[in-house]
């Protein structure tokens, strides 16, 4: 029915067919009616005497059905083809996009003033809209800049291409500068109380997921091995770090009387965190190999199921091996990271005293931000390097065609195992950072949901694309955090409404939309690892997604 309607629209875009639109809207409304009648209209609730009674919610039901009906009606009647064309033209035009960005910025400013002056619902609505317009302004401004560069330096000429790549390098430098300056700028403008949220909840949290996304990207995006249990390596890293930091590092001291001697975390001195971090990473990569062996022969769905089970097994072991992991209660009091031996404490010997600055609890947060930024950049740099080495090319070749790999003398066993091991290692790094940052870990942090979020980030971003994964992590994790800020939703859905409860619903919605519009993720093109004359992006249509 929808395709018929589209055909109709292409034939005569200017004059919408009202009867057809009404029929389509009636169809959608009918489906909504049948679907939401049991789901929305009736509610089984408890009354005062603890009895189960059937309540009805006719007004809400009517809203759902009416929005389905009128939504479809507007969709059918809208001049879609013309709008699509206009949209495409707008994307090409830096002037139009620039105007849009300016308008959105002004609107955002006005709304911020309203939000500050007003109170109650008006203020919250204005604030929510200002966030929306602000995001829109940033996106359109970026679009305008891209369109301007494309029209000013077209890629069809040699000089244009060179200039485009120069601008690309400059942009990367600017982005790096922004990332480095971000916590200091936030602290400068917003003070301790105002900035901690932006550095911790947004900065550190997003960077952890960017790092996890990049780590999983090696396994899923490059080697094409769908791993649904990636959180297991995150957990192994976190628990390795926490246990070693709390119980000390077992050392075999050959010269000493006692063959086994444990070195306490604090005895490791200034480098304690930096000694345990790689150990946790190596332990996680061992688990990566351990998972790799049994799944060597599995492909596609079967591989996904086994890796999923592996993630659950690790979590169940963490819950049930109480002697080691303290079960559900988790491990608390994980030693906090120090600034190369100088603890972030108040008073004598602390970080603040050492540098002669007033003590502030945010120092540690800022330090942690730089640690995870460095770890994430390490992951990115290593992945870029690995992609240009034979092992990286073998991973991608494995994703494209495993049989052909074997016919070219590539040992697919070691190739798969290294992909699992290196991906797991980065998961382990992220895990040990997580343990050090939280100071407390429990199995609750390593549920299947985490794996699902990381896989969603990789798939939404575009498998294999580093920048796409980073954008997806910012959207998904940053978006979730931003939802906490929106008080306006409380006005609509009531005081008890917690928007973060609905994040999985929104993830799902985002996934569906991306799969409709960009089935291969935000960045679907693949950048070749080597070139003879010029680096041309490979269209996603050719790139395989891996089946084993």
């Amino acid at each position: 029915m929808a395709s018929e309607a589209t055909q109709e629209a292409t034939q005569d875009a200017s004059r919408p067919d009202f009867a057809r639109a009404l029929r389509a809207a009636g169809f959608s409304g009918g489906i909504a009616f049948l679907l939401f009648l049991p789901l929305i209209a009736f509610l089984a609730a408890q009354n005062m005497r603890n009895e189960l009674v059937l309540e009805t919610r006719w007004p809400l039901f009517a809203v759902f059905v009416a929005s389905a009906f009128f939504g479809r009606l507007i969709w059918e009647l809208s001049p879609r083809e013309r709008l699509k064309q206009q949209f495409a033209e707008t994307l090409q035009s830096p002037i139009r996009l620039g105007t849009a960005a300016a308008t959105l910025t002004i609107a955002m400013g006005a709304l911020r003033i309203v939000a500050r002056a007003g109170f109650g619902i008006e203020s919250d609505v204005a604030l929510a809209l200002s966030y929306l317009f602000g995001t829109g302004a940033v996106v359109t401004a970026i679009g305008a800049a891209v369109a301007w560069v494309k029209s000013r330096y077209p890629a069809t000429t040699e000089s244009g291409r060179r200039r485009q790549s120069q601008i690309g390098v400059a942009l990367r430098m600017v982005a790096l500068g922004f990332l480095l300056a971000y916590p200091l700028v936030m602290f400068w403008f917003l003070g301790t109380q105002g900035s901690i949220k932006w550095i911790d909840n947004f900065g550190i949290q997003i960077l952890i997921y960017v790092m996890l996304g990049w780590g999983l990207n090696i396994v899923v995006g490059l080697a094409g091995l769908l791993d649904l249990g990636y959180v297991a390596f995150y957990a192994v890293g976190a628990y390795s770090f926490a246990l070693l930091a709390k119980n000390g590092l077992p050392f075999i001291a050959f010269a000493s009387e006692y063959p086994f001697l444990t070195v306490d975390f604090y005895q490791l001195g200034p480098w304690a965190f930096w000694v345990l971090l790689p150990i946790a990473g190596v332990l996680a990569s061992f688990w990566g190999i351990l998972l790799g062996f049994p799944v060597l022969r599995l492909r596609g769905d079967y591989l996904a199921i086994v890796t999923l089970a592996f993630g659950e097994i690790i979590r169940l072991v963490l819950i049930n091996w109480v002697d080691l992991t303290n079960g559900y209660a988790g491990i608390s009091g994980v030693p906090r990271p120090t600034f190369f031996g100088i603890p972030f404490i108040e008073g004598e010997g602390g970080f603040a005293a050492y540098f002669g600055i007033p003590f502030n609890s945010i120092h540690r947060t800022i330090f942690l931000y730089y640690v995870i930024l460095m770890l994430a950049l390490l992951t990115a740099a290593m992945t870029i390097r690995l992609r240009r080495l034979p092992i990286g090319r073998a991973w991608e070749a494995l994703r494209e065609d495993e049989i052909a790999c074997r016919a070219l003398g590539i040992n697919t066993v070691t190739t798969k195992l290294t992909a699992f091991a290196i991906g797991a290692m980065f998961g382990g790094f992220a895990g040990s950072f997580f343990a050090a940052r939280q100071g407390f870990i429990s199995p609750e942090s390593f549920t299947f949901m985490e794996s699902a979020v990381i896989v969603a980030i990789v798939v939404l971003g575009g498998m294999g694309s580093q920048i796409g994964v980073a954008i997806a992590a910012i959207l998904m994790i940053g978006g979730t955090e931003l939802m906490r800020e929106l008080d306006v939703l409380k006005h609509i859905f009531g005081r008890d409404f917690d928007p973060t409860q609905y994040r999985m619903l929104l993830f799902g919605l985002g996934m569906v939309l991306i799969m409709i519009w960009k089935p291969r993720g935000l960045i679907s093109t693949r950048s070749p690892s080597v070139f003879l004359k010029e680096r041309k992006a490979v269209s996603g249509a050719h790139v395989r997604e891996g089946h084993g």
Binding site: E396, I403, A407, G409, T418, V530, L532, K533, H542
Partner: protein
């Protein structure tokens, strides 16, 4: 005693109750193009899969030798001792049926192509040729460690690999398309690229599974020229499965005919072309009618 490159002896491959190859023996001579022909389902690709280590044969021996031919003398000893390979007097001898697929390529230097083209479609033409040089590049990158730290030895090896790839691209006329995805190439070019990719592994034996399938007559003729150049200019012998008889008859030095997993003829193209058994197998005639067919074709 002659010194063939490849010797297949009493090769039998059973899949459950199905006998795909039954007691097949033949040899491929050094520096020659040997064609393996036969009707559909005769077991030709199964022979290839056994030679290249994709299948473990049920019975039989597949021996390959290069370097000093005296190494053939070690064959029985090697078989008895249960080894896979032996180097002696500058010659190397391999028992392919005992080696895993990737080692057949790495050590015994047997490369292959596939009936249904198996390129890496999402990688560029150049990348396809570099993946084929994985083994030497891996060594040059110090099994990734040296390469990761940017040692110049790897950069040098990669440049050499690109040069080699470029030479092959020049030969098949795809230099201009080096940076395009392999999946974007027309069918004929993909066939040639797959052969060039196999050649990038430096094989002594190149196994081609129906390289002319789906090519038009002029493309087939070009392919025949290309294969002859490979044979003449490189130390590479070719084992070929092909249905296109014009190609087979034109370039083969030696033809082995298979039917229902059994060898029915073995000899020069002319001899095979006139062999009544071959004609019968291809035309599907009962054994007692062979005489009639012979008479018809003028034998």
């Amino acid at each position: 005693m002659s010194s063939p490159l490849l010797r297949v002896e009493h090769l039998t491959m059973r899949f459950g109750g199905l006998v795909a190859i039954n007691d097949l023996s033949f040899s491929a001579e050094r520096g020659q193009i040997t064609a393996l022909i036969g009707p559909n389902g005769a077991g030709k690709t199964t022979v290839f899969n056994c030679i290249t280590g994709f299948y473990k044969p049920t019975e039989g021996r597949i021996a390959l030798q290069f370097g000093d031919a005296a190494a053939w003398g070690e064959l029985e000893a090697l078989t008895q001792q249960g080894g896979r390979s032996r180097e002696r007097h500058g010659g190397s001898l391999f028992l392919l049926e005992r080696m895993p697929d990737f080692e057949v390529v790495r050590k015994a230097r047997v490369a292959r192509t596939f009936q249904n083209i198996r390129l890496f479609p999402g990688m560029t033409v150049l990348e396809n040729l570099l993946v084929a040089q994985h083994v030497p590049l891996m060594r040059a990158s110090g099994w990734t460690v040296l390469g990761l730290f940017g040692f110049p030895i790897y950069a040098k090896a990669e440049r050499a690999a690109i040069d080699k790839a470029r030479q092959w691209l020049d030969r098949i006329g795809l230099t201009d398309r080096a940076d395009d995805p392999a999946g974007d190439l027309p069918y004929g070019a993909q066939r040639e690229l797959e052969i060039a990719r196999a050649m990038c592994t430096d094989p002594v034996l190149l196994c081609l599974d129906e390289p002319a399938a789906g090519l038009n007559p002029s493309e087939s003729a070009e392919l025949a020229r290309f294969l002859r150049t490979i044979r003449n200019e490189h130390a590479t012998s070719i084992l070929l499965i092909e249905h296109d008889m014009s190609v087979v008859m034109e370039i083969s030095d030696h033809v082995v005919v298979l039917d229902h997993g059994v060898k029915i003829a073995d000899g020069s193209p002319e001899a095979v072309r006139n062999d009544p058994k071959v004609i019968a197998a291809y035309l599907g005639v009962e054994d007692d009618e062979v005489a009639t067919v012979e008479a018809e074709v003028g034998l």
